[in-house]
Symmetry: C2
Subunit: 306 residues, 2 copies
């Protein structure tokens, strides 16, 4: 069963009507009614051996990444984060000093986001992991589902740098372009708040632009046409086909993609929304191809981790 | 480093002033300001091999337990739960059918609590675990820290039954008193809401009454004197010293202990708050002994798991 089908099946089991719930399973975060606004809420896990190996980054980086990765879901809802809880599962080979270093990294990210870690849980377990849940507020949360033909598709943040860094790390190198981007991603909270007023839909880039934009296109019932030349402006300086593959399928960028009728400050326009379905890439020569047909090979080395 | 000292050290690293935060690390749940009331928020993990073994219960029980254990923290704050997120870490030997069975159990518990599961996360990982975060509301959350001399100490729910069930399961038996209580605990939400108006302090019994009441006594700067004869009314029907040891140190009861100036409907009075510190048990002959001196031997077989 694919992740998408599993989530659909889980939703079928878990969905329960409640006057409190505005958005349930299936968007970047859940949304609960609260007074005249809403509470936006997400949870995300970083598991050793799956999302990272300890020789790739410091324990503080693990904490920092865990906080930013979770907060990124709130950026994608146009929400302002207010607090976080941290649940650690600690294997026998992780010392208290390492745990405290993880929390130093969480604190650093929390300080940048204005979103303190206010509680959590510590448990023993066979595999080390950090699960963070982040809560925030939004007057009107941005969903994945309202992109309209004619909208511009725009991105805040870089695409493919983190994946490039990860390829270096997986190859045994500890220095190289993109490693810093992978170790210390930045949740695009300010960009999300800026986009909030005019954006019709939004998603954060965790799995890779191609896949995440596919989710947005499916949820909105539209087609997205990405323009290669525009995309490459946000991607690593490499041979264009490598750069495009990394930008499309690398993932873990925690960039923010939105659709909106006009361009938004701080965002780079990378494509347009049209009638139809699926995600296409328009080459410099004008020809359009299915995104999925482009360099998906990159996928395999990286994606099998998550 | 003990769990208590680790949490103190984590709090030192993570504490950050925020106008949004009413209660941070150290109580049963965190509390955020929200309009005229507050949001009460907790996270809890059930890890295979630490909190359960798969031969001890069904996958639906795992889901049910995970939901009730997390919601129990909200009962201890006098809060009404409104929603939950579920983060699963799935090892290779856990099938999608098992995952869906876990979510069936979560749904059943969620239905009883009026607290739907509205989102979550699924990740691969070396060890299977279910981490649940639950959100709720309370006009004025009950803390651990306001018990006053003269208050009555009262409990809603049974003490030691779950631990008795667990001893059966650990001994290889699949039938016996207490097994159902261990597999399907009940978060004392209604009792917490009933206690909310008059209780001065509250805590849920997860680690064992003795230890949890110690937390309450320390946070409030008081002594608690538990009356053996009263305690045994809530404990398994066994030889009194076995029953007392299970009730004091067994844990995983998810009973609710509160202090209040007068008795509350649905609670059994088990002791009193006095000046001083620590937790004592008053025997039938009138003599008072340190709770910690009583049958802590039970502790070792069970406590080393968590």
């Amino acid at each position: 069963m694919s992740e998408f089908r599993l989530i659909t099946a889980l939703n079928r089991v878990l969905a329960q009507a409640s006057p409190e719930v505005i958005v349930g399973i299936g968007d970047d975060a859940a949304v609960l009614r609260e007074g005249s606004g809403s509470i936006v809420w997400t949870i995300d896990a970083q598991v050793e051996g799956v999302h990272f190996r300890r020789e790739w980054l410091s324990w503080a980086d693990v904490g920092y990444r865990s906080m930013m990765a979770a907060a990124s879901d709130l950026a994608a809802m146009g929400a302002m984060p207010t607090g976080a809880l941290s649940a650690l599962t600690v294997s026998d080979d992780v010392s208290e000093a390492m745990i405290l270093e993880v929390s130093e990294g969480q604190r650093e990210a929390a300080g940048l986001l204005g979103c303190p870690v206010i509680g959590g849980n510590v448990s023993r377990g066979g595999t080390f992991s950090v699960t963070m849940t982040v809560l925030g507020r939004a007057a009107k949360p941005l969903l994945r589902s309202n992109a309209r033909p004619g909208d511009l598709v725009q991105v805040a943040g870089r695409l493919g740098d983190a994946a490039l860094g990860l390829t270096h790390l997986m190859g045994g190198s500890r220095a190289g372009a993109g490693i810093a981007a992978w170790r210390r991603p930045h949740a695009q909270i300010e960009a999300g708040l800026r986009a909030h007023a005019s954006a019709t839909a939004a998603i954060d880039v965790s799995d890779g632009l191609g896949q995440d934009v596919e989710h947005l296109a499916r949820a909105s019932g539209v087609r997205v046409v990405l323009v290669e030349a525009q995309l490459l402006k946000c991607a690593p300086r490499l041979d264009p086909s490598d750069a495009l593959a990394l930008a499309l399928w690398g993932g873990e960028d925690y960039a923010l993609v939105v659709s909106a009728p006009s361009s938004i400050e701080g965002f780079e326009v990378i494509g347009t929304v049209t009638e139809g379905n699926g995600v296409l890439v328009k080459h410099v020569d004008g020809c359009e191809v299915e995104a999925a047909s482009l360099g998906r090979g990159y996928d395999h080395g990286l994606r099998e981790r998550a």
